[in-house]
């Protein structure tokens, strides 16, 4: 009858090292032995055109009445509104605006009576817009 001898304290590090080595070897064995790659490069070329109808943006913020406003369009053309505007003066606006659009009536008879009024208060403007062969009535209210 043999008695099991207790492990000596200095043998634990050796056992731990062997266990770690075994785990590392097991991991290496289990993992793919290689992960090689082959690659090739190419370029993505983009040609961006703008529609015939220009996209225009104001380059200045809303300022005081009478201040020159410069609008730059995507075609590169700079439109200056600081010229003679006496015929169609710009309305004074200080804030945002709401814009509405609806299909325009096909006959003037159905439009009814438009009550025009100009005075202090919100500014409204109307215009008829033709888009994709159909007429729209656009209303803008600003203040």
């Amino acid at each position: 009858m043999h008695e099991s001898l207790p492990l000596k304290a200095h043998t634990y590090p050796a056992i731990a090292a062997r266990v770690i080595s075994f785990v590392v070897l097991l991991a290496l064995w289990a993992s793919p032995s290689y992960a090689a790659q082959a690659s090739a490069q190419f370029d993505v070329f983009i040609s961006l055109g703008v529609p015939n109808a220009d996209l225009c943006r104001s380059s200045t913020q809303i300022g005081s009445f009478g201040e020159a406003v410069v609008v730059t369009c995507s075609s590169g053309e700079i439109v200056d509104f600081s010229g003679d505007t006496s015929a169609f003066p710009w309305s004074v606006t200080r804030g945002d605006a709401y814009r509405f659009a609806t299909l325009a009536p096909t006959s003037a008879a159905s439009l009814g009576t438009v009550n025009s009024y100009a005075g202090l208060g919100p500014v409204s403007s109307w215009r008829r817009v033709n888009f994709a062969g159909r007429d729209y009535l656009e209303l803008t209210i600003s203040w």
Binding site: A36, A38, A40, Q41, F42, I46, S47, L48, T72, S74
Partner: protein, 154 residues
């Protein structure tokens, strides 16, 4: 006379026997030693360079713009592999258009056959994008993120 004939017959017989004996001794004995032909094959893949992907886009256009570029992958027969492309969803830093790239794999793609397998890179620019352009048209020649890499991992 008869003795002379007998002598010739005997001489011929002896000569024939000697020739037969000589012929038998010319048959060489064989000693066999076999060996193997050992071959170590390192698996590999190659990928062809795709043609450049070219888009033509009109600002705010109503339908997506698409472009396709074919390429091929050749891998050792039976070798599994994956194919990917870098920067597959990105906004071009020159014209400000976002686009996506995807790999279209053939039937049986992903496992080498030893032959060329046809793939394609399919690019899409979604509709409705304004982009960045201060003139009537712009190209992304100056873009720093226009070069992509297609990678085969095996």
């Amino acid at each position: 006379m008869k003795n002379l004939q007998m002598k010739k017959l005997l001489t011929s017989t002896i000569a024939a026997a000697a020739m037969i004996a000589s012929a038998q001794s010319a048959q060489a004995a064989s000693v066999i030693s076999s060996f193997n032909v050992d071959i170590t094959l390192t698996s590999a893949c190659s990928v062809s360079t795709p043609a450049n992907l070219t888009f033509a886009y009109t600002a705010l256009q109503a339908v997506p713009a698409t472009a396709t570029s074919p390429f091929s992958v050749t891998c050792a027969s039976g070798l599994p592999y994956t194919v990917g492309v870098s920067g597959n969803s990105v906004t071009d830093d020159a014209v400000g258009l976002a686009y996506s790239l995807a790999i279209t794999a053939p039937v049986g793609g992903g496992t080498g056959t030893g032959l060329s397998q046809a793939y394609s890179i399919d690019g899409t620019i979604a509709s409705g994008q304004a982009g960045t352009c201060i003139s009537a048209s712009c190209v992304n020649t100056a873009a720093t993120n226009k070069t992509k890499t297609v990678t085969v991992t095996y």
